[in-house]
Amino acid sequence: MSYLLTATCAVPAAGAVLTAALPAGSSEARRRASKGVALAVSAATLALTGAVAASLDTGGARYQLTESHTWIRSFGIDFSLGADGIGAVLALLTAVLVPIVMLASWHDADPVRNPDGTFENVRRTQGFFALVLAVEAMVLVSFLATDIFVFYVFFEAMLIPMYFLIGGFGDRAGGPDSAAQRSYAAVKFLLYNLLGGLVMLAAVIGLYVLAQDQGLATFDLPTLTGAIADGKLVIDPTAEKLLFLGFFFAFAVKAPLWPLHTWLPNAMGESTAGTAVLITAVVDKVGTFAMLRFCLGLFPDASRTFGPYILVLSLIGIVYGALLAVGQKDIKRLVAYASISHFGFIIMGIFAFTSQGQSGATLYMVNHGISTAAWMLVAGFLISRRGSRLIADFGGVQKVAPVLAGTFLIGGLATLSLPGLAPFVSEFLVLVGTFAKYPVAGIIATFGIVLAALYALLLYQRTMTGPVKAGVEGMADLRLREVLVVAPLVALTLFLGVYPKPLTDLVNPAVNATLSQIHQTDPAPAHPVAATTGGEHE
């Protein structure tokens, strides 16, 4: 038994404790020390996650690097971890984004200086960075857990640090009532997700009771899915539907799926750009990931029953999110609604039940994470320079800060899925995978690409082009630290757009395994043509 996965999750957790325990102080040196420690820990986590992804054998078992430590023996709960392609890819995404988010938020959590030169709340900086590391640790456990109870605990526990990140650290660009808005957003985030989580807890217990009745007193996911597939564990159809809905509800809140989305614009709008990226690019991904891993594997029949309905909801989400993004006046809320549209694509890909759809959905999670991070972080740089989030306060930025404008455009182009950039690959896979089974849904979703062009380019046009507006003149271009934040994201967007094969190789086996769990295969083409000329090569 290797301890690689435990180490991967434990390093950021220990780092969070360490960062929080460092001596506080108002001096720049003390603050820099805590930031440095946090950054180093996240870099170490990245290295470990990279090792996890690299050591996966794509032809091997479903879950690899598995380990199991007894936790609560009487309920059959083990702290067991295991990586499959989907989980490993998403863990990698998390580990890549956290150091970038830290670097982007370098000064966002500096203590407030009072007029008399003293500092208020000198522990702020450490608090922020420790919370980010805590979130990272919990998200990593969620992606790697193979025990349903362990997953549940960390799925819920990550709400706590997120609550403090949203409520405690704003972007200093809100209006006079920004503190009230922020606490509203934080409470809303917590209540929505807590409600979802409680419903899921009921379902988790229900599942355990059912399994226990049939002699399987365990929360171990591979055991349960295997038993369900073999018919050793039989769940009554009505019960299965209820349990499915219990799990799905929690994930749909977190993802978020229309109409459970309204917490997201508040949370992303009021928090710092870094926190917003954590929410949309990392934490929300746990929701869509869990749909793929838990809902489909545990409840194959219910998944098939509810699939079409969920597809409709996701379709509404795609169009609805995009239309609302077009109508937003606030940059960060616009990005939030764009994300809602993108989450619609992800969920649609999952419930289309084709390998293209699900591989596409997994890639979509990664690519959306990277591209939205780039878009949102540059937006954050922009907002912090101007001290306003309103689109109308900007104009002509490209004249004074061309590099900033250029990266913002790249972020926008990635969001609208320009071919050659990573999101295109995943979006097209989702579309083609959906179209193969549900042509009408595929066609309607394709309208989303026009709307995406509309909101992304409108935002660029209104903020960056035209004559330089008052308040924008003299705006500084990206600093070195900010370039370091954006450059890896842009590079990844380009690289994964041109050569996504490393990711697809990791993801495909896991997706095929998931599809076989729900007894689905890809529809065969109507007139298959043996690839003679174009496909084969000299």
């Binding site: 609302l324 293209q356 026009v450 004559p467 094969k501 007139h527 003679t532 090569h537």
Partner: protein
């Protein structure tokens, strides 16, 4: 030799990367670097072309597989190239005209502080366009397709500080996206039908699919072509796209990118041939656009917008030809190439005129320029003669062939198409003569420039600008004749596009005569209206048709009323609904729970003894219940 194919794309791509990332260090040399990248690509193209000429007809098409792009079970997207007669024709056109326009831009953009970036975008365009024509599958073609859209977006909006330019750029991209939607759905349909979207399997297997499916695919491809090639109903962006620098208009919005739709239809000929209904749609679109563009071109006073109308109209000819099936494919491409020469030349001439006239674009403020800009005058004049189809010049051969093919379609349909094409030829002659007369003849009508407040001092442009114009003028004069000689172009393309003669009700000579007569009539009418009497500096009000044509036949007003305003209303009402209804429901629930708990709170008095009392009460209640249950 085949391994050179990826280099065709890589050279300009590397140029673009270098120029866009290189920073200020490259400001002084960047434009030459960009031109060099384009020229390198052209040299490679010529090498590959001569290599291809050396092989027998059957072995001319070659494939080059680079790497596997997106493999997911049955879905295999590869980055691999196909170089055949059709694509090599495009490669030569794109890199040839592209290099000339790079050279021209060195002079034209000399005073622009962002010249390096301009060349970066131009190189990016070349790379994307080459990818488009070299791809061996529809998905990779789609990458190039959107790539040229991006380059077009960046270049139309190059002068971003002008709100009109930024708006035009966004409009072009979004209208194109509507077309792209067609292409992407078409690819999905191909995948579900054939399990592949590479040219070989799809075009080779088209015969097995039902006609309904093929018609659907073909119509979706037509939608894509309409977007990219500015055909009705997605043509509205092209006029606005003239906000970009003139070399861009010449390269992207005249010679190459806008003809991508014609390429797509010709490339997918095997599908269209089996879907007659879709072909009818293509023909209708082409015919409507060729008349639409011509009418718009007659009314515009902005020299670039008049030329844009003409571009639309000429591409209408090509689409019409492509819609005719094997009778017309080769002629569509032939007209595409000759049009590439003369229209690029005309745009460069227009740019040269603007350069000399302090960026004035209104033709009513020109006049008598032939004495001041002799080279521009001669090259523009040759381009003019070519486009109106003056016997012996390029346009004469290619346009004449299309009109002939339209008649050859046969039946009533053939007559209608042929006559429309003839009318189009007459109108073309009219508006082009108008442009020529307003710009180079008549008396001076120069106005003080808005920028400097002085009257312009027109002068001939520098050699970097005139040289490309001269070379393009050569192309405008001789290309058509060369292609028509022994039908060499037709035989060159025949292995790819196929060819059939059709049955024309008219003798070829009759068609030629008719075309020439129409052309002369158009020229004569224009001379009567603009050549004999002085031209007013401000435009007269004009007939309702003229006024409508000035506003692009009310297309924008239509779009605005039918799409933009309802769309804006929809988003605004959805934003309201989201906060009031969806979110309001949740907030209402929260308020209700809050209210209830507010009432319940009153029970908690804070006195320890009242809590004790309730505890005793509760305990008693429990005990009583237990006893009762036991006794029952």
């Amino acid at each position: 030799m085949n391994s050179l194919i990826p280099l065709l794309v890589a050279a300009p791509l590397a140029g673009a990367a270098l120029l866009l990332l290189g920073g200020r260090y490259l400001d002084r040399l960047g434009h030459w670097l960009g031109t060099l990248a384009a020229a390198l690509s052209f040299v490679l193209g010529v090498l590959l072309f001569s290599d291809m000429l050396g092989r027998p007809t059957g072995q001319r098409a070659v494939h080059q597989h680079l790497f596997s792009w997106i493999p997911v079970n049955g879905f295999r997207a590869d980055v691999s190239f196909q170089l055949d007669q059709l694509s090599v024709t495009f490669v030569l056109l794109i890199t040839g005209v592209g290099t000339l326009i790079h050279l021209y831009s060195v002079g034209y953009m000399a005073h622009d502080e962002r010249r390096r970036r301009f060349f970066g975008y131009l190189n990016l365009f070349l790379a994307a366009m080459l990818l488009l024509v070299l791809a061996d599958n529809y998905l990779l073609l789609y990458v190039g397709w959107e790539g040229v859209g991006l380059a077009s977006y960046l270049l139309i909006g190059f002068w971003q500080h002008k709100p009109s330019a930024a708006t035009a750029a966004k409009k072009a991209f979004i209208v194109n996206r509507v077309g792209d939607m067609g292409l992407s759905i078409a690819i999905m349909l191909m995948f579900t039908e054939f399990g592949s979207f590479a040219f070989g399997p799809v075009l080779g297997g088209a015969r097995q699919a039902s006609e309904g499916k093929l018609t659907a695919i073909a119509l979706l491809l037509l939608l894509a072509a309409c977007g990219k090639s500015a055909q009705v109903p997605l043509q509205s962006w092209l006029g606005d796209a003239m906000e970009g620098p003139t070399p861009v208009s010449a390269l992207i919005h005249a010679a190459t990118m806008v003809t991508a739709g014609v390429y797509l239809i010709t490339r997918s000929g095997a599908i269209f041939n089996l879907a007659p209904d879709a072909q009818t749609a293509v023909v209708v679109v082409g015919t409507v656009t060729l008349l639409f563009g011509a009418i718009v071109g007659c009314a515009k006073d902005d020299i670039k917008k008049a030329l844009a109308g003409s571009t639309m109209s000429q591409i209408g000819y090509m689409v019409l030809a492509a819609g005719l099936g094997p009778i017309g494919y080769a002629f569509a491409i032939m007209h595409l190439v000759t049009h590439g020469f003369f229209k690029a030349g005309l745009f460069l001439g227009a740019g040269s005129v603007m350069h000399g006239m302090d960026d004035e674009v209104n033709m009513r403020h020109y006049g008598g320029l032939r004495k001041y800009m002799p080279i521009t005058f001669v090259t523009f004049g040759l381009g003019y003669l070519a486009i109106i189809g003056f016997p012996g010049l390029s346009g004469f051969f290619s346009k004449d062939k299309i009109i002939e093919a339209a008649f050859a379609k046969g039946g009533t349909e053939g007559w209608i198409l042929g006559l429309c094409a003839l009318v189009g030829a007459a109108v073309t002659a009219f508006y082009m003569t108008r442009v020529m007369l307003l710009t180079f003849f008549g008396e001076k009508r120069w106005q003080p420039s808005a920028r400097t407040g002085e009257e312009p001092h027109p002068h001939e442009s520098p050699a970097t600008m005139t040289l490309p114009m001269i070379l393009l003028a050569f192309g405008s004069v001789f290309a058509g004749g060369l292609f028509a000689l022994n039908s060499s172009f037709l035989h060159w393309l025949e292995p790819v596009t196929g060819h059939s003669e059709g049955d024309s009700p008219l003798q070829p000579l009759t068609v030629t005569l008719l075309t020439t007569v129409c052309m002369l009539a158009g020229v004569g009418l224009a001379y009567l209206m603009y050549g004999r009497s002085p031209v007013p500096v401000t435009a007269p009000v004009g007939s309702p048709l003229t006024r409508a044509a000035r506003r692009d036949l009310l297309q924008d007003d239509f779009n605005h009323a039918v799409l933009v305003r309802p769309g804006a209303g929809l988003t605004a009402s959805l934003v309201y609904l989201d906060s009031k209804a969806v979110d309001g429901l949740v907030n209402g629930l929260a308020a209700t729970i809050g209210g209830i708990s507010g009432r319940l709170r009153r029970i908690q008095t804070g006195f320890a003894r009242s809590y004790a009392l309730s505890m005793f009460g509760g305990a008693l209640l429990l005990a009583a219940t237990t006893l009762l249950m036991r006794s029952v």
